[in-house]
Structures are given as structure tokens and as C-alpha cells.
């Protein structure tokens, strides 16, 4: 682009510049030639008329014509030779007298007509003459005067001028080339930066930006480019995060499936190949059953999650009191087993949503709370209004969750316990399902936790 602009501008300049130089020199030359012609014609006229008058005067006084001719010719030539003008006296096309230093053998071949003068350029050896031929008045067309003005020097001067013009032209061309290059570099600098930056972006370096200076269109473009780069980087980061999350999901799922599969396969192999007692057989089979059950749970929960994702729920008014009562019934056994007490506080009568899904959500939260509490722990359900929004919360006084784990809790299969032991947990999909349920209700799920103080899970309904 830059190179092409350079070549185009440069060529245009060369054409315009040199043609104007050419025209100027031609104009000067023509001008000079016209002056020379004018002068020559004038002088020829002057010489021939005065020559003719003088000649006539001498002849009238009874002088010899030939002597007079020579005398007069010498007189005139002496004077004009100083000015680079040579004269020739012709008689019927033949040279009678001439003061040209080296006269070539050629003869003037044109005929002289009365009252007509002819002008022409004449080359003799390496010199150029401006030649005018015209009759000598008063000689009845017998004699004519040839006027030869040596213009070689003029031509040489012109050639010199031409050379100087060419030299000046070349110097200017060089200066122009250099300054054009400089200007174009400056003009194209932002474009170069854009192309470098876009190449880097194409290669995966998304943090490259262009330094914007000035307020012209290019700076504006650089600004837009930066915005674009920013946006691309943001999107790419998002994609990378999403793909990482997916990878994490796949890894986790693989682990969740592999572990029970290992036991199932192992115990089946054990029954098939080992010498074992009936009691041992029952023991192994019971493991196969419980592990299969676990895998069944995973598949059910995953299915639940997938269904929730594509489902539009039917929203109805849900009575909070009955929601809490129903939920408590399904949790009663577990609460008693873990010696945990459940309390609730209701400031709002109703919520808007799907009762079954809300109950499943409440049970899920409470299930987690039970797992987090020591015997004697207290769990509080609360329904109230905060900043104009209805809020449902589950609070426990359990172990709490480390701060950096909180935002990962809703990832499928995520476990705070790094060993991923299943002894205390379910399949690790509960909170993912809860988040999906919240999403279906246009509600926001937030978790606050302090280690050793407890955790509060809050569901804030934004639409009702």
C-alpha cells in the first residue's frame, strides 16, 4: 500500500515536473529564436537597404560597381563581424564575396525573387547560422545579400540551460523522493501498527494495542482497532473459560463414573474368578449393587439438569408456609439422624414459581447445610423482602466454605473436598441443579460463607 502510494505519487510528480521543465525550456528556446529571427530580419533589412542606397550613391557618382561592391561589403562586414554576423554577396545564386571563415563548397541553391526574403537555419560544419537571403535593392535583382548570424553560442547556452534544468530536476526529484518517503512513513505509521497488531492477534497474542496519537481519521481507526482487539480478547477469554469449565466437567464426570465402575468391574471379576464363600459373594454383590445405584443417581441427576435447561416452567403463586412444611417433612428423618434442629421465619406469604422445583431447591440447600453441620447445629429458613425483591435463604452454623471455593460450588461435580470422596456427599450435581432452578425462576443464587461460622445461601427473585 505504502509502496504503491509512493510509486504513484512519485511517477505523477516526475511526469508533471519534467514535462513542465520541458515546456519551459522549449518556450525559452522558441522565444530566443524569435528574437534572433526578428533581429536578423531587421538587420538584414537595414543592411540591404543601406547597402543598396550606398551602392546607388557610389554608382551615381560614377564609381565602379564592382569596386564599390567590394568596398561596401568590406565596410559592412567589418562592423557586423564583431556581433557574430557574417554577410555574403550573391550574384544569381553564386557567392561573390563572403566573410565566413570557412566556407564549405556548397552553394546556396535557392533563387532570389524580387521583394521576397527567405530565412532558414543553415549548418556549416559544426556551426549553426541563421540565414536570411534577400535581394539587394537597386541592383535589379542582380545581387542579393545573404545574412548569416552565428547562433551556435546561443544554442550552446540553451543546451547548457537544458542541462542545468535537468540537473535541478534530478536534485528536486531526489529531494522529493526522500521527503515523500518520510511523509508516507509518518502517514502510514498507524496503518503499519494496525497490520503488525492484527498479525499478532491472528497469532494468538491478544493483548497487543496501538498507541493512539493525534485526532485524525487514522487515530480514530487505531482507536476502533483497539476496541476490537479488546472485544476479541474478552470473547476469547470467555471461550477459554467456558471450554476449561467443560473440560473440568468432562474430567469430573469421568472420575465420577470411573470410580464406581472400577468397583463394579472389580467385584464382578472377584465373584467370577476367585474361590470365595457364599458370604463373600453376597458382600461383593452388595457393593456391585450400591455402586450401580450410585451411577444411576448420577445419570438421573444429569438428566434432571439437562431437562431443566430446556424447560420453561409454569409459574404459580406458591404459599411459603406450605412450601416450608412440605420440605421439612421430607427432611425430618435426616435432621433427626444428624441431631440438627430446623427453624424458620416468614415475612412474606407467597412466592411466584414452581412449587416442586422450589421444594427440591430448598431440600438440596438444606441437605448441604446438614452435611456442613456438627450434631447440635441449627439451620434457619428465611423468607423476606430485601431491596424490594423477595428472598429465600437457608442459613447454617456449620464449618463454612473457603472463600475461593464459593464461586465454583455450582460447577457440576465440584467438591470442596479435594479427595472427591463420596462417603459424605451425593453426586455433586445438587448445586448445579439448584442454580438451574434459580435460573428458571429468574432468580439469583448467592452464597455467603465464613469458615467456622456458617454458610448462608440466598435466592433473590428479581422478577416478582
Amino acid at each position: 500500500m505504502k509502496f504503491r502510494t509512493f510509486i504513484a505519487t512519485f511517477t505523477l510528480f516526475l511526469i508533471v515536473f519534467f514535462s513542465s521543465l520541458f515546456f519551459i525550456s522549449v518556450f525559452i528556446f522558441n522565444n530566443q529564436m524569435n528574437i534572433i529571427k526578428e533581429r536578423g530580419i531587421n538587420e538584414h533589412y537595414f543592411i540591404s537597404s543601406s547597402f543598396g542606397k550606398d551602392l546607388m550613391a557610389i554608382v551615381d557618382r560614377g564609381g565602379n560597381l564592382d569596386d564599390a561592391l567590394e568596398q561596401l561589403f568590406n565596410f559592412y562586414t567589418e562592423y557586423y563581424q564583431k556581433q557574430g554576423v557574417f554577410l555574403e554577396l550573391l550574384s544569381q545564386g553564386k557567392i561573390v564575396y563572403s566573410n565566413l571563415p570557412e566556407r564549405s563548397s556548397e552553394l546556396t541553391s535557392y533563387s532570389i525573387e524580387s521583394g521576397i526574403r527567405k530565412a532558414a537555419f543553415h549548418h556549416i560544419d559544426d556551426r549553426v547560422y541563421f540565414k536570411i537571403v534577400g535581394e539587394l535593392p537597386g541592383t535589379d535583382n542582380r545581387f542579393s545579400i545573404q545574412y548569416l548570424h552565428d547562433i551556435s553560442d546561443n544554442l550552446k547556452t540553451w543546451q547548457k540551460t537544458q542541462r542545468i534544468l535537468l540537473l535541478v530536476g534530478i536534485i528536486f526529484t531526489i529531494i522529493l523522493a526522500a521527503s515523500l518517503q518520510l511523509i508516507l512513513s509518518r502517514v502510514f505509521e498507524p496503518l503499519d501498527m494496525v497490520s503488525t497488531a492484527s498479525r499478532k492477534i491472528a497469532n494468538g497474542q491478544y493483548d497487543d494495542r496501538i498507541i493512539v496519537s493525534g485526532r485524525n481519521e487514522l487515530a480514530e481507526m487505531a482507536g476502533s482497532f483497539n476496541n476490537m482487539a479488546e472485544e476479541i480478547q474478552r470473547r476469547i477469554t470467555q471461550l477459554a473459560e467456558a471450554s476449561e469449565q467443560k473440560q473440568q466437567f468432562v474430567d469430573n464426570l469421568a472420575h465420577e463414573i470411573r470410580t464406581p465402575l472400577t468397583s463394579v468391574y472389580g467385584f464382578a471379576e472377584y465373584i467370577q474368578k476367585a474361590t470365595i464363600s457364599d458370604e463373600e459373594k453376597i458382600f461383593a454383590a452388595s457393593y456391585i449393587m450400591s455402586e450401580s445405584q450410585y451411577m444411576l443417581n448420577i445419570s438421573n441427576r444429569l438428566l434432571e439438569l439437562a431437562t431443566l435447561r430446556n424447560q420453561l416452567i409454569k409459574m404459580k403463586v406458591v404459599d411459603v408456609n406450605s412450601l416450608f412444611e412440605h420440605s421439612q417433612k421430607s427432611l425430618a428423618a435426616k435432621l433427626a439422624e444428624n441431631q440438627i434442629s430446623l427453624k424458620w421465619k416468614i415475612d412474606i406469604d407467597s412466592l411466584y414459581g414452581d412449587k416442586d422445583l422450589l421444594q427440591s431447591l430448598l431440600v438440596n440447600f438444606t441437605d448441604n447445610a446438614i452435611k456442613a453441620c456438627n450434631p447440635g447445629g441449627v439451620i434457619v429458613w428465611n423468607a423476606y423482602i430485601e431491596n424490594g425483591c423477595r428472598v429465600l435463604s437457608v442459613q447454617d452454623n456449620g464449618w463454612g466454605i473457603p472463600q475461593n471455593e464459593i464461586n465454583k460450588l455450582t460447577e457440576p461435580f465440584y467438591r470442596v473436598d479435594k479427595s472427591r470422596n463420596r462417603a459424605k456427599g451425593g453426586v455433586g450435581l445438587g448445586l448445579s441443579i439448584c442454580e438451574q432452578i434459580a435460573h428458571c425462576h429468574n432468580a439469583v443464587l448467592s452464597i455467603e460463607s465464613l469458615p467456622k461460622v456458617g454458610t448462608t445461601v440466598k435466592l433473590t427473585f428479581t422478577s416478582s
Binding site: 470411573r258 472377584y270 476367585a274
Partner: protein
């Protein structure tokens, strides 16, 4: 006979490994978290540790650093299957790396291999009036040398190493004849018959219906 520590927090898998290794004559101790290892290695001298990586309280890498100082061979047992995890495990000094899910026979084979490398494997094997010298590749019946062919001896070793476990004819072919042997499974039957006859093992080498053979010796 080796004393093996199994560190695995998944109860079913821990028990499964324990039972299988005891079947072939090893003695096993099971623990379910990383910290318990530190205590138990003070009490016993283990020949081998099967170590899970993702463990409660203390992960497998941390446990490895400690047991390595005591010069106990370790086999990592994990569901982390990526190349980088394997490389990390092995460069940290584990003797082997087994990825879940695994087959018990493979686990046993790898356990035997590590024990063999660390010279902790069984050198001889006694069954009633039969004694087999695994180093010298000799078998004695009532203290008298029995003339058995090298191929029969290899088959016998395969059966002893996987005692109490049924081995298919195909697996026996692989174990005793080598991986690339593509023989008729009838060959196995012929050799088994000879072994039974020569060492009087009729009551010990059992034919398992539709499966293969098993050397039974319940202690």
C-alpha cells in the same frame, strides 16, 4: 508373600484390592486417608504401598515424599490419567502408575513386577508335600526333584502367582507362553494335565466351568 499397604479413600475399591491381593497370598493393611499412613508405617515394615493421589487430609504426592525416604516402593493408583499426571507421578519417584479403572489381574501383575524389581518377591512356594524353588526353577515332591519341562514350569509359576484366581486358557497362554504365542488353547489343557500328574495336583488345579483353571489353596 509381601506386606502391602493400601491407601485409598474409596472404601469399595480399597476393600476390593485388599481381598484380591490376599487371595494370592499377600498380607494387606488398608487405610483411608493420607495422615493415617504416617502412623501405620511406624508400626510395620511394608514391602509395597498402593497409593491413591486424591486423598483426604494429605494427598498422595505428599505421602510419597515421606515414604520415599523410608525406601518403600510405591505404586500410584489414580483416576488422573493425563500424560502430565503420569509423568509427574513417575518423576516424583513412584515405581508404577495405575489408572482407574483397572483390572485386578493387571494390578496383581504390576504388584508382582514391582516386588520382583525390588527383590521382595517370593522365592519359594510350599503346598503340602510340594516345594517349588522359583529361583532355581525346580519342583520337589516329597523332597524329590520332579522332572518338569521349562514350559510346564512357566505355567506352574503363572498359576502360583495368581493362585485362587481363575485364569482363562487365553490368559494362561499369554502368561506362560508369552504375549505373541498364538497357540491352540488345547495346548494349555495338555500341559495342565501333565502338571497335575507329575506333582499330584489333581485336587489343587481346578477346572473352572467355562473359564479356565485355578490353583486353589485356601489357607
Amino acid at each position: 508373600m509381601a506386606l502391602i499397604l493400601i491407601v485409598e479413600d474409596e472404601m469399595p475399591i480399597n476393600i476390593l484390592i485388599n481381598r484380591n491381593l490376599e487371595l494370592v497370598g499377600h498380607e494387606c493393611v488398608s487405610v483411608y486417608d493420607g495422615e493415617a499412613v504416617l502412623e501405620i508405617i511406624q508400626k510395620y515394615t511394608f514391602d509395597l504401598i498402593l497409593l491413591d493421589i486424591m486423598l483426604p487430609k494429605m494427598n498422595g504426592y505428599e505421602v510419597l515424599e515421606i515414604v520415599k525416604e523410608m525406601d518403600i516402593p510405591v505404586i500410584f493408583l489414580t483416576s488422573k490419567s493425563s500424560l502430565s499426571d503420569r509423568v509427574k507421578g513417575l518423576t516424583l519417584g513412584a515405581d508404577d502408575y495405575i489408572v482407574k479403572p483397572f483390572e485386578m489381574l493387571e494390578l496383581q501383575a504390576r504388584v508382582e513386577a514391582v516386588l520382583r524389581r525390588t527383590n521382595k518377591e517370593q522365592r519359594s512356594f510350599v503346598l503340602n508335600n510340594i516345594r517349588i524353588d522359583l529361583d532355581g526353577r525346580q519342583a520337589f515332591l516329597n523332597n524329590e526333584l520332579v522332572d518338569i519341562t521349562p514350559q510346564e514350569f512357566d505355567l506352574l509359576v503363572a498359576l502360583i502367582r495368581n493362585r485362587n484366581i481363575a485364569l482363562s486358557r487365553e490368559r494362561l497362554l499369554r502368561l506362560a507362553w508369552g504375549y505373541d504365542f498364538e497357540g491352540d488353547t488345547r495346548t494349555v489343557d495338555v500341559h495342565i494335565t501333565k502338571l497335575r500328574k507329575k506333582l499330584g495336583l489333581d485336587n489343587y488345579i481346578k477346572t473352572v466351568y467355562k473359564l479356565g483353571y485355578r490353583l486353589e489353596m485356601l489357607d
